[in-house]
């Protein structure tokens, strides 16, 4: 649902291909100029500026309320209260561990589900011929631009009817498929999976589903991994819908962070410790898989 919005931003094909081709032409003209020290310096400044708020958060999280109140600009050296503050977050009534666990459950299940259904549908759209294929594909692409978040009221009514409010399933089910995922996998299969491979499997007597399982799915691994990453990030950071349907009794991390701010607004060392705890998992993921996120965004950039 609202998690779709975030992932939506990539679409299209070809850009990455061009980028790869261009590597071979390192000349001194146009945009292929060598980066001079000015460029490096400016980029370094930009990176420092965008990294600083995160470091600032840690500085406050390792400080104490009084020091923070006295120094609007924190000293660049962290204090030594982080463990203490973190413990206070964990012992507070925001249910941090439960929220962490909920966030992991929701993010993992939606990622697996989005990838599975998107790969199935993408395989079908890209490599199988059937009536209505074009129209249905156009429909999928059109729905990428639909702000489904605006359907919250009926969705909430639906979840109440089902008795799902306050339960994780109310967040999981609306996140199980994304139009973007289907589009993404369709594109990938179109570009990379040759028809011959599928026909060969068919001639060997494979059923469609076995062809999918043994031929298409292995071929889809790189794109599927990227899709899983983006879905995971989108799910982890999603707030609006979990906030409405889960509430404070069974929160995900963003919902419990919101509680933290609402109840402890005077103690910024505590609040920022909470922010650090909720953010670190994705920072770690980023260190491991950030490269894939970068190439995913760039491969998806629009062309034409």
């Amino acid at each position: 649902m609202s998690s779709i919005g975030v992932v939506e931003q990539t679409a299209g094909k070809g850009a990455a291909k061009h980028a790869r081709r261009r590597k071979n032409r390192a000349t001194g003209v146009g945009s292929n100029r060598r980066g001079g020290w000015v460029t490096y310096t400016l980029l370094a400044i930009v990176l420092l500026v965008s990294f600083y708020p995160l470091y600032y958060t840690f500085l406050l999280a390792s400080s104490d309320a009084q020091t923070i109140a006295q120094n609007p600009i924190p000293s660049l050296i962290p204090g030594d209260n982080f463990i203490d503050n973190a413990r206070r977050v964990l012992e507070s009534d925001i249910k941090f561990w439960q929220a962490l666990w909920n966030s992991i459950i929701v993010a993992v299940i939606t990622s697996v589900s989005v990838v599975l259904f998107a790969t199935l549908a993408g395989f079908s759209f890209a490599k199988l011929r059937f009536r209505g294929r074009r129209a249905l594909l156009v429909f999928v692409i059109a729905t990428m631009a639909v702000p489904t978040q605006l359907g919250v009221v009926p969705l909430f009514i639906l979840m109440s009817e089902l008795g799902w409010t306050g339960k994780l399933i109310a967040v999981i089910v609306p996140g199980m498929v994304t139009a973007f995922g289907v589009f993404w996998m369709t594109q990938y299969f179109e570009e990379t999976l040759p028809f011959e491979l599928i026909e060969a499997a068919r001639v060997d007597g494979c059923s469609m589903i076995r062809t999918f399982w043994h031929v298409a799915l292995p071929a889809a691994k790189p794109a599927a991994a990227m899709l899983a990453l983006f879905t995971f990030v989108a799910s982890w950071t999603n707030f609006f819908w979990p906030f409405i349907v889960l509430g404070s009794t069974n929160p995900t991390l963003p919902v419990s962070l919101q509680l933290l701010q609402a109840s402890y607004f005077k103690d910024f060392s505590l609040i920022m410790a909470g922010v650090v705890l909720a953010t670190v998992p994705l920072i770690l993921l980023f260190i491991v898989a950030g490269k894939q996120l970068v190439s995913g965004i760039m491969a998806g950039a629009v062309k034409g």
């Binding site: 980028a19 261009r22 609007p72 009926p154 963003p254």
Partner: protein, 326 residues
Amino acid sequence: MSMNAAPTVPPKAKSEAERTLARRTRLNHWDRKYSPYLYIAPFFIIFALVGLFPLVYTAFVSVHDWNLIGGKGEFVGMENYQQVVQQPLFWKGLRNTFSIFVLSSVPQVLIGLWLAAMLDANLRAKTFWRMGVLLPYVVMPVAVGMIFSKIFADQSGMANAILGNFGIDPIRWHADVLASHVAIATMVDFRWTGYTTLILLAGMQAIPNDLYEAAVVDGAGRWKSFRSITVPSLRPTIIFVVITSTIGGLQIFDEPRMFDQQGQGGNDRQWMTVTMYLYELGWGAQKSFGRASAVAWILFLIILIIGGINFMATQRISGTGSKGDK
């Protein structure tokens, strides 16, 4: 999936029984004919239930007297809409939403272009720089809101302290309308500028080098070739960025919600957005699903219209740009 069983007879086992053969052919035929639909079905079914149906049903709820607790009441026609558009709060929310949207997306695209142009140079450690600009993207908006509401605190915030060092009077980030919008726009851009930069960068890398070479031959400088080649060639990419940021930006909720402790959009509702208003109508004191739906439906139409205008405007601006420079 188990319904779609594999043919039971292995191809090499030359069973001469004609019935088996016929069955196999028939199964195979069905497999070919219906599998494609079976594979796309999960997406369409789930999307219809949790995406499309709620959106369409919003229109139905919006013409009823509908309450969070009491449930569906009687048909009231356009009454919810009338009440909503008579509320000054609704217009305030609309104003705030647009203001925050413009204040965030214009700098985002401009800074994105600038950063992308730098990253497009032949750099060492390309991946490092690209990952660097993307890092804030993995921070949840709620956390961004909490961090920046402290940085922009009126009394003890870092922003004012830094300004104070330059002899500038403290800005009332949480009291002034425009200042609060700037603060929230900063949060949005903190998280999204890197993402936009990478999309623009990919677009730049797809521009054929011959164009730049021709420009150099014509004596164009770096700025000139950026303006007359890079920007016009990026037209589709820019349209794409602007349209997607419109869809997301006009629904903004997380950052303004977290800008203070109450989450109401300020004492005078100076940074309350339309989606915050929607939430308040539905789940706040009024608990009126009918009116919340009316707001949702109005916002939906606005997003469609703005998306269309964006599309045409971006096309025209970039279009004349490339024509003028030829």
